[in-house]
Amino acid sequence: MASTDTTRPAGDRDAKDGGDLAGLEAGLDALESVQQGRTPWRQTFVEKILPPTVAVLLVLAVWQALVSFEIVDDPTKLPAPSDVWDVLHQAWLQGELLGYIWTSVSRGLLGFCFALVIGTPLGLLVARVKFVRAAIGPILSGLQSLPSVAWVPPAVIWLGLNNSMMYAVILLGAVPSIANGLVSGVDQVSPIFLRAGRTLGATGLKGTWHIVLPAALPGYVAGLKQGWAFSWRSLMAAEIIASFPDLGVGLGQLLENGRNASDMAMVFEAILLILVVGIAIDLLIFSPLERWVLRSRGLLVKG
């Protein structure tokens, strides 16, 4: 090192620069930082809540009109909204409504949790191990396009008419989605994070845990969301096809019972409940989870 050249006299400028620099920097920081406030409740209401409410009311109005103006005058084909409401109300009064919902939701969520436990390590293996990816990667993405209803007949034959068979069908529907979500999440991890991780000493399992998994979280959560949709669909298919008194009445069985009794109001009740529960779980669990993940990374663009 050229030592004589680099002895630096601590002159006036040194001291002056120190003070100036701190002030200058504080100014730059203040100018360039993004201020973000919360959206006012009113705006949320007008932009997010009002439009879907209007849409639902419109559908109900058209439905009621079809019945009132006797455009469709066969109640075995199209019951009035009020009839469906009565059936729902009746089920509520008899204390059965929550029972139907709980039977299906508990099955669905438990099955989804199993799918999570299997799909996550599977996805990680496929994403990180070349041989495994080459071997089962294409099959895994292919399975996503196979309707899970197709698994109901073999599941009934292998496992019989019981809850295990329902769970098997949910697993076969949801595991590929969850695993594929994680695989695409890992594939999209920016190489700069991997390099940065390596220079910090995060290699091997440490790298997977501290860098790869958190970086892949947005893709993983998208996979979970889709996995839930597939779980719910698979479960309904299983419940409709394999309804059996001992299994308890879930929403799928309710639909099948309605069909057997030619009770169109009951069929509509079941369809509405299946739809509402599926949406509700997504809105209550998966959408907030996804928004939180994206927002905390600044990936959610406002407006």
Partner: protein, 264 residues
């Protein structure tokens, strides 16, 4: 023989090493469309402890490749590199992890270095204070400006307590005002921490503004073309006459190197 050693204590093991990085006859070639392409040719360079060296060169001089080799992210085709411990590396992109807050990014570096949990928080706050970002501990990366992000990245690199800090055009994407400020910051931090810096850039004035020694690389393949020792006292300003004069001289040399490629 190609070697990358992370060695470096002096023979008796108590003294610190006589260099922060030693690059000896390093060559690197990559398989390209036209066969093996030589990117770096016989580079020999020492960075002394506490020294600030800038590597200057036009595109294709392999300066980032050389930095990757020193960082241990890649291996040389020939020659050897040894460093005093594992170097820290800063990129042009801040490369902060967006799923962690500014403070937690620094703590991750501390954790991977084996600093016990109880000490990490204080240490991270201390480092944030060093880069004048007190109060940014809980801020998310996207809430910070470009200049603040690079300062957090600097704090994270310093958290590794490496003897050598490698910087790969870390200020190239910043606006001019912020870049000037970060030059001042880097000079201050370098003098406070006594860390050795190997700084890659294609900006001649930046190289002269910061370094004690400027090393000019020629392009395709990268060879050391010339070296200058910068005797201008710190703190310097990028608009100082002495900085400008030396920059003119180096720029002439750099242009000469670039012109040679047009003649083929």
């Amino acid at each position: 023989m190609a070697t990358t050693t992370t060695l470096a204590k002096a023979a008796d093991g108590t003294e610190s090493a006589e260099y922060a990085a030693r690059i000896e006859h390093v060559s690197k070639s990559f398989a390209g469309p036209a066969g093996q392409q030589l990117v770096l040719d016989d580079i020999t360079l020492d960075v002394a402890p506490g020294e600030f060296v800038t590597l200057l060169g036009a595109s294709g001089c392999g300066k980032s490749t050389l930095l990757n080799l020193v960082a241990g992210l890649d291996r040389p085709s020939a020659g050897g590199i040894s460093t005093d411990g594992r170097p820290a590396l800063m990129f042009q992109e801040h490369a902060l992890f967006p799923w962690l807050t500014a403070g937690k990014n620094i703590e991750l570096a501390l954790r991977l270095r084996g600093v016990p949990k109880s000490e990490r928080r204080d240490k991270a706050e201390e480092l944030l204070e060093l880069v004048r970002l007190k109060g940014a501990y809980g801020k998310r990366v996207h809430e910070l400006s470009g200049g603040m992000r690079q300062r957090v990245a600097m704090a994270r690199a310093l958290a590794q307590e490496s003897k050598l800090l490698l910087m790969d055009e870390p200020f190239a994407a910043l606006d001019a005002i912020t870049r000037d400020v970060l030059h001042d910051e880097l000079t201050r931090i370098w003098r406070e921490t006594q860390v050795s810096v190997l700084f890659v850039t294609h900006n001649v004035r930046e190289a002269v503004r910061l370094a004690e020694r400027v090393v000019l690389l020629s392009s395709r393949p990268g060879r050391i073309a010339r070296e200058w020792t910068v005797g201008i006292p710190q703190p310097r300003r990028i608009e100082d006459t002495a900085v400008a004069e030396l920059s003119v001289e180096i720029t002439e040399e750099l242009r000469g190197e670039i012109r040679r490629h047009g003649q083929h």
